[in-house]
């Protein structure tokens, strides 16, 4: 099974040269650490920044400079700052090439639920609904099963939806899966030490398994 860092590392391979990328909170944030140095990528933070850099060195934190997770950050040369309307404007206009975010549930037709658990305190959707409704390419970074051992890859989401038919790819601790246009999770890759049967058991939605499922290349 993959660690969170390994999930992030695997997702980083999906980032291509010239991409503008929005990284959500949690595992997606870690993806930044694994972007190959030989490709040109710009990170967007939806609170109004293109060209987000690493965390500041201790003592160099600037309270006026944070990311969408409210973490202190830095900017890289060539960065630009803008207001929230323009930020979501460029997201809505699909100028951001790839969005990576977490999820509580994903359905086999690409629906996502990641903002609300009925009966629990509702913190709000933040920018998640805008991102999933607008992004042309969304990868979900998530655990395959929840703490109770139940699959989070479902025939249909049980939690209130964040967006519909929007998720294209999922990377979990067990597998890499594409969401098929006609519905269903297509098993692209398995974690090196995980069997197809194990993944099948952990996937409640329709799983489409090709003849050969390669192990992820974690190099």
């Amino acid at each position: 099974m993959l660690s969170k860092e390994q999930i992030a590392r695997r997702i980083a391979k999906e980032i291509k040269n010239g991409y503008y990328v929005n990284l959500g909170i949690g595992i997606p944030t870690l993806v930044a650490n694994y972007i190959p140095e030989n490709i040109q990528v710009v990170l967007q933070s939806e609170n109004g920044l293109l060209g987000m850099g690493p965390f500041p060195f201790e003592g160099e934190e600037d309270p006026d400079l944070i990311n969408a997770g409210k973490q202190t950050i830095t900017t890289l040369p060539g960065s630009s700052v803008f207001d929230s309307a323009m930020s979501f404007g460029m997201i809505r206009a699909q100028k951001v090439d790839l969005t990576i975010l977490g999820a509580m549930e994903v359905s086999e037709n690409g629906d996502i639920a990641n903002w609300k658990i009925p009966g629990k305190m509702v913190k709000g959707m933040g920018g998640a609904m805008d991102l999933v409704a607008s992004a042309k390419n969304i990868i979900v970074a998530m655990q395959h099963v929840n703490k109770a051992g139940e699959s989070k890859l479902l025939p249909a989401c049980t939690l209130p939806l964040t967006g519909v038919k929007c998720i294209k790819k999922i990377v979990t601790e067990l597998a890499v899966l594409d969401v098929l246009p006609e519905g269903g999770f297509y098993l692209l890759e398995r974690a090196p030490d995980v069997s197809v049967d194990y993944i099948r058991d952990a996937t409640k939605g329709r799983l489409v398994v090709p003849d050969h499922v390669p192990a992820m290349d974690m190099a």
Partner: protein
């Protein structure tokens, strides 16, 4: 130029009545109008509807107004990080309306641009869409969302001049420019107040026409919510 300076936060907010609808700039605790919030707490204006991306934390930002139960309704996109907020919400003391962040920003901008409504795909297929008009354009569904006006918009800028022109710094810009455009009365607090001509006309973020009152704030705490740093000569991140 038109002179918009008031002497203090107290004077700037003196006529905000109980029951007013306020917009407050900021993202988390970044770029919030600290001085005006303090003055609103001191004057104990109540029954407020607050439109702001977040609701502060327990002991800072809008959290200070929540603590004194000055807020009747909160309209926001994300309200975590605030236990008193949660208590009032669960007890029914506080109304909350949650709005996708981009929709919130664009509804403010729409008001500032005289557009009564905008179309966005955010929330299609979710409970956010309930009761709202859906239109299809080029095969994609969009929600029609209404422009957002506030009785008073209260924003924080880095620099401003006496004519109300504003310049923001780094990501403390966030919602401030779009809210500045959406207030029937817009109040700006700035760290540095300068004479007309000292700000480069090409680099003003909010033209003074959108600002009705401006004053030089003081004692900015600028609290950091998530202090994340890396160690020197290392790429490892650590959160504290």
């Amino acid at each position: 130029m038109i002179y918009k300076v008031v002497s203090s936060a107290q004077e700037a907010i003196a006529d905000i009545p109980d029951g007013a609808t306020l917009m407050l700039g900021g993202f988390g605790l970044c770029g919030i109008p600290e001085n005006c919030i303090a003055a609103l707490v001191a004057r104990n204006v109540t029954n407020l509807t607050c439109i702001s991306n977040n609701a502060g934390v327990d002991d800072f930002g809008i959290g200070l107004m929540l603590h004194k139960r000055q807020v009747k309704k909160m309209i926001a996109s994300y309200v975590g990080e605030n236990a008193e907020f949660e208590r009032q919400l669960l007890s029914g003391e506080l109304e909350v309306e949650l709005i996708p962040q981009g929709t919130l920003a664009t509804r403010c901008m729409a008001a500032g641009y005289g557009m009564p409504a905008i179309f966005t795909p955010a929330g299609i297929g979710t409970e956010i869409a309930e009761g709202k008009e859906i239109r299809q354009f080029n095969g994609k569904d969009y929600l029609m969302e209404m422009a957002f006006e506030a009785d008073f918009a209260i924003v924080k800028a880095w620099k401003g001049d006496t004519a109300g022109n504003l310049v923001y710094r780094a990501t403390s810009r966030n919602f401030n420019p779009v809210m500045a455009m959406a207030g029937k009365i817009t109040i700006a607090e700035v760290e540095e107040l300068v004479e007309p001509g000292e700000l480069d006309p090409d680099h003003i973020h909010t033209p003074g026409i959108y600002v009705h009152r401006i004053f030089k704030g003081s004692g900015y705490e600028k609290r950091i919510e998530q202090r994340t740093v890396r160690k020197s000569e290392s790429n490892e991140a650590s959160a504290s």
